[in-house]
């Protein structure tokens, strides 16, 4: 299992590297073959800070591209404003806001590092591929066909063995998988599941073990899903604010350093075991689990298990807030929210719970409790600590990398 997972991670890393090399190949093709002319249509207005930032970028970028022409429109002029309204209508944007950029069949609203990278990718793509200049059609009063709009992903690369891969989706998939897995191996409260299973097994009722243990896992999954999904939606409004990135990045670095400190401490002590902390809470939970597991009424036991799972997950969340917050912040930074975030949240959840699921299935299958060694917790502190520090630094100093704006 571990070996297989390792292979998959290596494959994805190779995929990322291959994607970057694919981008280089495109640049080489551009240098060697005849390149198409590309026009950037840029709508802006005075006093708009994002417009200023894009003007600064385009003033630097366009002169370096021989085949690129820049057409700028200040929408203070009624003609330019009318053209922007037409363009916004064609691209089905609700509001005609600035900065608004059109290249070929693609358009970008607003400006940040991600848009900057997308503009460069679009120029590279249209330089070597046939395309429809939608703005030219709008200006010439020609009808724009639905097929003229370029809905392809900016992050699509053709890779050997894998075929066409959306590198941003693959990167977000990998982020969800790794962060979920590391978070899952930091089990502050996994002992509750283990204790519940051992109590249920002692009653020698396999059906009850499946149902109550399964209810515990299902409640955990639903609870964690709701928390992560809500965070993504909330963060989508503030994720791109620099001050917020600095706050989250700083918290990530502090949490990472604390995790590394715990790893070093456990290495020095050479004692891989259970920490004797929060004994009162543990004792109280032990009593609750005992009552629930031995309750005569199945429905009472079920309600009790669901209640305990909610309490346990509140503890778990407080104990490992760093990684879920980082994960949801990365999704929000990439503009992933609403329905599109569900897939990544589910991937995070699957790998977050994979150790719980393994322990549960193995224990019920063999009818013998099979806990996971605390040595894994130690390594989760090491890997989690390193990841948190790296992501924290990227979030503060190089947020574009976390937006996969290579």
């Amino acid at each position: 299992m571990k070996k297989n997972l390792g292979w998959k991670m290596v494959a994805f890393l190779a995929l990322g590297l291959a994607a970057i090399s694919g981008k280089n190949q495109m640049a080489i093709a551009q240098a060697q073959e005849n390149v198409n002319d590309v026009t950037i249509y840029f709508f802006h207005v005075d006093g708009c800070p994002h417009c200023e930032a894009e003007i600064e970028f385009l003033d630097e970028y366009v002169p370096t591209q021989e085949n690129v022409t820049l057409n700028s429109y200040n929408i203070a002029s009624p003609d330019s404003y009318d053209l922007l309204v037409k363009a916004a209508d064609v691209f089905e944007e609700e509001f005609a806001s600035t900065p608004f950029t059109v290249i070929g069949g693609k358009h970008y609203v607003g400006f940040n590092d991600s848009v900057k990278a997308s503009i460069q990718r679009a120029v590279t793509k249209y330089s070597v591929n046939d395309y429809v200049d939608v703005m030219a059609k709008i200006i010439a009063d020609q009808p724009v066909l639905p097929t003229d709009i370029d809905t392809s992903s900016d992050y699509l690369f053709t890779l050997p063995f894998f075929g066409e891969i959306d590198i941003r989706n693959a990167s977000l998939f990998l982020v969800s998988l790794v962060l979920g897995l590391v978070d899952g191996f930091n089990p502050c409260a996994m002992w509750v599941l283990v204790f519940l299973i051992s109590m249920l097994i002692s009653l020698q009722n396999r059906k009850r073990v499946w149902l109550l243990g399964g209810a515990f896992l299902l409640t955990t999954a639903i609870f964690y899903f709701m928390v992560l999904f809500t965070w993504v939606q909330a963060l989508s409004f503030i994720a791109s604010k620099t001050i917020f990135q600095i706050i989250i990045g700083s918290i990530a670095i502090l949490a990472g350093v604390y995790n590394l400190f715990r790893y070093i401490k456990s290495q020095v002590k050479k004692e891989d075991g259970c920490d004797v902390t929060d004994v009162k809470t543990k004792k109280s939970l032990v009593e609750k689990v005992r009552k629930v597991a031995t309750a005569n009424s199945f429905w009472l036991a079920l309600a009790g298990v669901i209640g305990i799972a909610v309490i346990v997950n509140l503890i778990e969340l407080a104990c490992s807030t760093g990684l879920p917050v980082l994960f949801t912040q990365i999704l929000a930074l990439n503009g992933i929210s609403g329905v599109s975030s569900i897939f990544y949240v589910l991937i995070y959840l699957l790998f977050f719970m994979i150790d719980d699921i393994l322990v549960f299935v193995l224990s019920v299958w063999t009818f013998k409790v099979s806990p996971i060694s605390n040595k894994f917790t130690k390594y989760s502190h090491l890997v989690g600590g390193i990841l948190m520090v790296i992501i924290g630094i990227l979030m503060i100093f190089f947020p574009s990398i976390l937006m996969f704006a290579f």
Partner: protein, 87 residues
């Protein structure tokens, strides 16, 4: 008489892992007297042993003199290596 005291807790997965390992060791060394204390229910006895902040703990004693203390998870091989010289 050598006495082995194993201190565990029901909320400790490492204790679940280590209990059968120590039981296997005892079954091979039957002259050793074995006792298991529960961290939550045998508080008075455990307080006297000052066991620190990590479980499980094994204390090997001879006539109330502590011979060795083993803390946390250990492999069966490590258990043999650490405890056998005192038997």
């Amino acid at each position: 008489m050598i006495k082995m005291t194993l201190i565990t807790a029901v909320w400790c997965p490492s204790c679940l892992i280590m209990r059968p390992r120590y039981q296997a060791f005892i079954s091979k060394n039957q002259k050793v007297l074995f006792e298991e204390l529960d961290f939550d229910t045998d508080e008075d006895k455990i307080r006297a042993l000052s066991i620190g902040k990590t479980l499980p703990v094994v204390i090997l004693r001879s006539d109330d003199r502590e011979l060795i203390r083993v803390i946390g998870e250990k492999s069966p091989h490590e258990i043999e290596r650490l405890l056998t010289p005192f038997l």
